[in-house]
């Protein structure tokens, strides 16, 4: 069908780059006019020419362009998206509506506090909710994402130690930790020392005790860990850290496994970050924006980023920067638009709903664990929390790797699990169903995984060449990285 455009598939239509659209003189927006020219107000040497190659497209073309692009995406709203460690749960649509209420959307961050009481009350209430949920004593809503929360937390750890005779040099991190943990520790000026886990990948108090010195500023621990297991010795581990004056940084990205079950604040955490775009359902947005509030125990409160919210009489106000605060980690007050969504979500669930979300997320993960264990090898066999990790071991004889399974899943109309993470598990497939997916969807996924295992044995080439139903095949990432083309250019990029 040579006549057809290359990407046409089903009802999906090929779509060139924005810059390959349009014609000179076209405009997608009508703008008010003012007389004169810029040179009447600014010295010529400060002015530029019209930007060569900038779009010249009509409004209908722009809408059609992005509409077509959107259809080239899978999302949780269109299909099962079992991306482990990312908690791809349902994003309630009311939250999209309330975040767009003019009262929030049109509020300027420097509006006087008296004229922003609705937003301040919301932030205040959300801080209280997160404190209650996590068992921490105080919350800052400022960080923009999980990693930003980690950095903020580690800066506080540093400030805490500096007030106590020295910042210390080292941070302990389990090998199974997410990459942002070591990166954040390093960004805070710390050396990273790896703690090996036991055969289940769990951190043992003994190991931590051995590693602890008075130069260890903190242990960063993810609980449940990235293998989906609860760190059973967390209390003893925390004790070991505290015994040498260290602090426990608790990576809260996996909090969806703990709501109403156990509180980090009660298991030794000194500081943690929340990933509102995971546990509290603010949309992932194709890569953000999220929000990464942090929670701390009392002894770290003085170091929280500022300004802080405080009640004065019948109203709320932003305080001045607290004297021992680490300062700001961004402009203004945080990703308030996302905070509104998270607040609406917690309101809708309530305490019981939060607990139910965790219970169902863990039940669904274990259902997949048991069902899939018949065809795939588990990284470990214990009961899991919100996610289960498998390997490609059983497929090795047929020359099939985790990547092939992931790509073939796309043909089955499912997004792929997180693959090759955690690094401690060779050929890892990390599967997190969340509480949002129906039993029928889980069963369909199991059937797909089993069909793929069958295909691996019977028609392995099918998997090597997968995906085949997608409008574009596997892309040559190696070559893309060797000679990177990172933008379109009017003239060929140099």
């Amino acid at each position: 069908m040579s006549g057809l455009r290359n990407k046409q598939a089903g009802l999906l239509l090929d779509e060139p780059l924005l810059f390959e659209h349009g014609a000179p003189g076209r405009q997608g927006a009508d703008v008010a006019t003012e007389p004169g020219s810029p040179a009447d107000y600014l010295p010529r040497e400060l002015l530029r020419e019209p930007i060569e190659g900038f779009p010249e497209v009509s409004e209908p073309e722009v809408l059609r362009h992005f509409l077509r692009l959107s259809q080239w995406n899978f999302g949780t709203a269109t299909t099962f998206y079992p991306l482990g460690s990312c908690t791809m749960k349902y994003n309630p649509l009311t939250n999209e509506v309330v975040a767009r209420l003019p009262g929030f959307a049109n509020l300027h961050p420097l509006a006087p506090d008296e004229t922003a009481q609705g937003a301040l009350e919301l932030c205040w209430a959300l801080e209280a909710m997160l404190a209650e949920i996590s068992g921490m004593d105080a919350i800052s809503l400022q960080p923009a994402a999980g990693a930003h929360g980690e950095l903020t937390g580690m800066k506080m750890v540093r400030a805490y130690h500096q007030d106590r005779g020295g910042a210390r040099t080292t941070v302990l991190i389990p090998a199974s930790a997410h990459g942002t943990n070591p990166a954040s520790a390093a960004l805070a000026g710390y050396k990273v020392q790896t703690v090996e886990g036991n055969q289940l990948g769990l951190v043992e108090a003994a190991a931590v005790q051995r590693a602890m010195t008075d130069q260890v500023a903190a242990l960063m621990i993810t609980n449940p860990n990235t293998l989906g297991l609860f760190e059973r010795e967390i209390a003893q581990v925390a004790e070991a850290v505290h015994a040498r004056g260290g602090l426990v940084y608790f990576d809260g990205a996996n909090l969806n496994a703990l709501l109403g079950v156990a509180k980090p604040g009660k298991v030794g955490a000194d500081v943690l970050q929340f990933n509102l775009h995971k546990t509290f359902s603010t949309p992932h947005g194709g890569g953000g924006p999220g929000a990464g509030p942090i929670g701390v125990r009392e002894h770290l409160m003085p170091y929280l980023p500022g300004p802080r919210l405080a009640r004065h009489g019948d109203g709320l106000r932003w305080s001045a920067m607290p004297e021992r605060s680490i300062g700001r980690v961004r402009s203004f007050h945080g990703n308030v638009g996302m905070l509104v969504r998270a607040y609406a979500y917690i309101l809708a669930l309530g305490g019981d709903g939060c607990t139910q979300a965790t219970r169902m997320a863990v039940l669904a993960a274990n259902y997949l664990r048991v069902k899939l264990a018949e065809t795939y090898q588990l990284a470990q066999s214990a009961i899991c929390m919100h996610e289960a990790v498998f390997t490609d071991k059983t497929l090795e004889p047929y020359g099939i790797k985790t990547l092939d399974v992931a790509k073939r899943l796309l043909d089955y109309g499912t997004y792929a699990p997180t693959i090759y993470f955690p690094l401690v598990v060779p050929g890892a497939m990390m599967i997190e169903p969340t509480e949002s997916e129906s039993l029928e969807t889980l069963d369909a996924f199991i059937a797909s995984m089993e069909a793929i295992a069958r295909e691996a044995r019977e028609t392995p080439d099918l998997l090597h060449s997968a995906p085949t139903t997608t409008p574009i095949g596997r892309l040559d990432e190696a070559r893309a990285a060797r000679r990177p083309v990172l933008r379109w250019s009017p003239k060929p990029p140099e």
Binding site: K7, E15, L18, F19, Q27, G28, P35, G36, E45, R48, I51, F54, E56, H65, F66, L69, S70, G75, K89, Y90, L107, H108, P109, L110, A111, P112, T115, G118, E121, L122, A147, R158, G179, T180, A183, S184, A185, A262, K266, G285, G288, P289, M321, V329, S331, N335, G351, G353, V362, L363, Y367, Y415, L439, P471, G473, R474, E477, A481, L486, R487
Partner: protein
Amino acid sequence: MRFIPHSPSDIARMLAAVGVGAVDELFRDIPAELRASGAIDLPPGLPEQAVRQRLDALAARNSGATMLSFLGAGAYPHFSPAVVDNILQRAEFYSAYTPYQPEVSQGTLQAIFEFQTLVAMLFDMDVANASMYDGASATAEAVLMALRMQSKRPRVLLARSLHPQYRETVRTYVEGAGEAELLEAPFGADGRLDLAWLSANLDARTAAVVVGYPNVFGVVEDLDAIHSIAQPGGALLVTATPEPLALALLKPPGACGAEIAVGEGQSFGVPLSYGGPGVGLFTTRSAHVRGMPGRLVGEAHDEQGRRGYVLTLATREQHIRRERATSNICTNHGLIALAATVYLALLGKQGLRQLAHVNLVRAHRAAERLTAGGRWRAAFSAPFFNEFAVRGRDAQTVLTRAQAAGVLAGVPLGQWYPELDDALLLAVTEVHDDGALARLAEVLEA
């Protein structure tokens, strides 16, 4: 619960398959004493209608959102075409995540590639990344990158005329990360970085000079002059742009010798949302790409030679490099980058210039009008874009009176610059028609 599909019979089936009698048993690895304190004490959940009512009531208490406002200082009121939000409400975009599987994420990937292109063009730099959190954190990452590029030079000069919150953020990021030292460069009566001071203080220990463009006073810094001092001294020019609409008219940082140019993209069709989420813009030269923070999307091809887009140069990033990564950023501000992309596509080559001109003209009209009144004078003499400062009366008093009259008449500069406690900073954009300017004059003359 409407979000959680599992019915009692579903639950029974799953429990049976797992081989446990009750959901509680799944948590047995959690020590009982920890579970004892796990219960959440929050009110029961609410139906959607009740949630709506609760949020409507809170939104109604943000009177500032509906007042006539001239607040800017890093967040600007602009009109956003309806197409932008319709695209943002497409669940295929907002409910996807980082495009790890390119074959089913081309929508996100191509849009980011277009975003990178538009931002690079706007700043006239070679490359832009897939987005940062905001302008302030982007500036901080720029400083860290500059320090990595200049390993022998520990000092960074921050213009005092750079947005104070950007400076505070840089301070937080830099503090403790190595031996780096921050020095603040004063501004002159024109509101620009003091060039004499710069020449005097720029030395072999200086890694970079960081200036706002426009700066926090709305003033357009003389980048060429700064560059002509920094460059011979071996220091990198780093610029931070809180109002990128200005770049539709202003000589771009890339044309003024900037090695790293960052900014805040909120002006491009993104609601104020009380300050976030916006989107951090980050650009640099091709030569420095591998030292750049954040994600990058690049062109690629499949076996049949079809063009597509993928995440690339990931070896800079935390999930591969871990503690040696160029940054710890993972989730960025992709959806807001998409908003800016749609916005810039709509405004386009001519529209964006025309809009910038409207901002320029109206801001100058407002400034003239106020200073003509006699009770106010221009705070600075250098050229400005759509934001300017005036001095003459006690800012707080004036603002309080204006607010009582339903107008948010500007940002008091005294909170950041004690010596400017009689100064107001005002932003004027296309949302301010003649009626609005008249009202402004009225309340400020009062």
